[in-house]
């Protein structure tokens, strides 16, 4: 299949992933990702942030994009080919060259038992991006993009590097195959504040200079705002609001996004929270399922929210999954 420019790079359409989880003697069905849609265009590489509270399905979505998890429903196409249906061979020879991951914990990314450069060499050799002495050159090149050199890294064990360095190596490894898409699942949440910025700046550089699109997953709205071009806010498997990051976070429409934004503690004593939270238990008066997933907590809840599932509506240059904007 030939990839054309106007074809989207990544096309996620009504994607659902269901987990059955059993606990004690009961089984619960959990839609980790529920009817999520998003598209990354091919022409102009962008950083797409996926944000949302813990357990909202960000990682699951990312794993599906990486082909590590099979979608239960919906389509997920990369350059027009369905990721779930790729053969093991196709994955190795084509898909993994195109799409590479950056994981959350740089130390978990590499086996502590192995030298960190072995992954670089494995990647370079297995995808035959270079031969002989060129291998070293290609690796060094990739490392330089992230501000390291092969000399610094060679022969070292992961724990001999700082978290930021290790995370850079992880990114460099991903870059060796010259991928078109990086899927970065909370790539900075384990890093020190000062290192965080250097990685985020690196993503921007990669987008601008190397033309790499990034699916940036985070629960930190501030970094999402700082880094991303577009953002999708996830709530229990749904993408409830998506659009340009300035708009979505600047003036959130979905009540959930609003709640999220207001809850972010601002590093400024002048912007401290004013309101007192109510912690008294509130009885749950209706089943949580069947309506909008946010209905139980929503301050603007309407009757229909409890029975009907909202569709995604276009509003103010973004798409919102809320009846308020129907």
């Amino acid at each position: 299949m030939q990839h054309t420019l106007d074809q989207p790079l990544l096309e996620i359409d009504h994607l659902t992933r269901v987990f059955l989880s059993r606990q004690g003697l009961s089984v619960t069905r959990l839609e980790a990702v529920d009817d999520a849609s998003l598209t990354l265009t091919a022409g102009k590489p962008e950083i797409y942030a996926l944000a949302g509270e813990s357990g909202s399905g960000k990682t699951t979505l990312a794993r599906m994009v990486l082909g590590l998890e099979r979608p239960s429903e919906g389509t997920l196409n990369y350059k027009g080919r369905s990721v779930g249906e790729l053969s093991a061979r196709d994955k190795r020879t084509w898909f993994y060259k195109e799409v590479q991951p950056v994981f959350q914990d740089p130390f978990a990314t590499f086996s502590p038992m192995k030298r960190i450069d072995s992954y670089l060499y494995e990647t370079a050799r297995n995808y035959q991006v270079a031969k002989g002495a060129d291998v070293d050159k290609r690796i060094d090149e990739a490392l330089r993009v992230v501000g390291l050199t092969l000399a610094e890294v060679r022969g070292r064990y992961p724990n001999e590097l700082s978290g930021g360095q290790a995370q850079r190596v992880s990114i460099a490894r991903a870059l060796i195959t010259r991928p078109s898409l990086l899927v970065a699942d909370e790539p900075v949440s384990m890093l020190d504040a000062s290192l965080r910025m250097s990685i985020l700046n690196l993503f921007k550089d990669l987008r601008d200079k190397e033309g790499v699109a990034v699916l940036y997953i985070t629960h930190d709205l501030a970094t999402a705002y700082y880094t991303a071009d577009r953002i999708g806010v996830m709530l229990r498997g749904w993408i409830v609001e998506t659009g340009p990051v300035e708009r979505v976070l600047g003036s959130p429409l979905h009540p959930y996004t609003q709640l999220l934004k207001s809850s972010v503690p601002q590093a400024d004593p002048d912007k401290a929270w004013s309101a007192e939270p109510t912690l008294a238990p509130r009885p749950v008066t209706f089943p949580v399922s069947g309506g909008c997933k946010f209905a139980a907590r929503c301050p603007k809840v309407m009757d229909r929210c409890r029975v009907e599932i909202p569709a995604s509506y276009e509003a103010e240059g973004r798409s919102v999954k809320c009846f308020l904007y129907a």
Partner: protein
């Protein structure tokens, strides 16, 4: 490697004692090659003599020198146990890793197989097979058999290890580095299993030596070969205890205990050393 051993020796008393015992054991086994008597020779020394300068561990009522018998016995028992351990752990690691890594249908099939093996009582099965093979039962066959029976429970342990390793992020890194499954399992996962493997090797040794002794005293081993078990068997057969020739039994019993204690202690030390946590701490300290 040498520094590891030196460090262990210096800082870990369990390892120190264990390896000293093992050295003695291996020297004993090695001495068998210099034995002045053939292993099966009888009537070569005075009968039923208590330990003396000439016959350190005494002699049997068959006119055999207990010390030299013991050298053969230790060697042969080590061979049986070694074989059993290699085969048992080999199968265990392989099945455990395959089943853990591949998951899905393969995992279900292999787990079912493993579970079926676990529920079959092993000792009776071994006795049954030994009874069947008797006459053709050699030490090698015994070792192989024990090995073939002692893999199921370890393999479960490896499986669960690999199951959790598979979920670790670096597995995905390896996959995205273009490594094939076999390579991932061998290069990425196997190193993590080494501490378990070691602990397991020791319990394998315990099991194999215990079984060798048990089968022999039930009269089901290779009664013509010298092993710790057959020494005990023949010691009992000629009533060493009743006839106050305790030395005939004391030697193999002490040797059996020493071997297993030696392996056990050495492994305790080694496991402590290989424990990923302390190991990482050390790497960090040096790096």
């Amino acid at each position: 490697m040498l520094t590891t051993i030196r460090d262990l020796f210096r800082y870990n008393s369990a390892f120190r004692y264990g390896s000293l015992i093992l050295v003695v054991v291996f020297i004993l086994a090695g001495l068998s090659f210099f034995s002045p008597y053939a292993p099966e020779a009888r009537r070569v020394v005075p009968r039923a003599a208590p330990p003396s300068l000439e016959h350190w561990f005494g002699t049997t009522s068959q006119g055999q020198d207990v010390f030299w018998m013991l050298t053969f016995a230790v060697r042969n028992t080590l061979i049986v146990a070694g074989l059993a351990v290699i085969i048992g752990r080999g199968i265990g690691v392989m099945i455990g890793m395959i089943s853990g890594y591949l998951g899905g249908r393969w995992d279900r099939f292999l787990s079912g197989l493993v579970d079926s093996f676990i529920v079959i009582p092993r000792l009776p099965l071994l006795i049954l097979i030994a009874a069947m093979l008797r006459g053709h039962m050699t030490l090698v066959a015994l070792g192989v058999m024990i090995g073939l029976l002692d893999w199921a429970i370890p393999s479960k342990r490896y499986r669960s290890q690999v199951l959790s390793l598979r979920e670790r992020e670096f597995t995905n890194t390896a996959v995205f580095s273009g490594m094939r499954s076999v390579k991932v399992v061998v290069r990425e996962h196997l190193p993590f299993l080494i501490p378990f493997l070691l602990a397991d090797v020791v319990s394998g040794f315990l099991f194999a030596i215990g079984l060798e002794v048990t089968l022999s005293v039930l009269g089901l081993g290779d009664m013509n070969a010298q092993s710790l078990g057959t020494m005990i068997y023949w010691g009992n057969y000629y009533q060493s205890l009743l006839a106050n020739r305790v030395w005939v039994l004391a030697a193999p019993i002490a040797a059996a205990v020493l071997i297993v204690v030696g392996f056990y202690l050495a492994s305790v030390g080694l496991t402590a050393y290989l424990d990923p946590r302390t190991r990482l701490a050390r790497l960090q300290a040096k790096g």
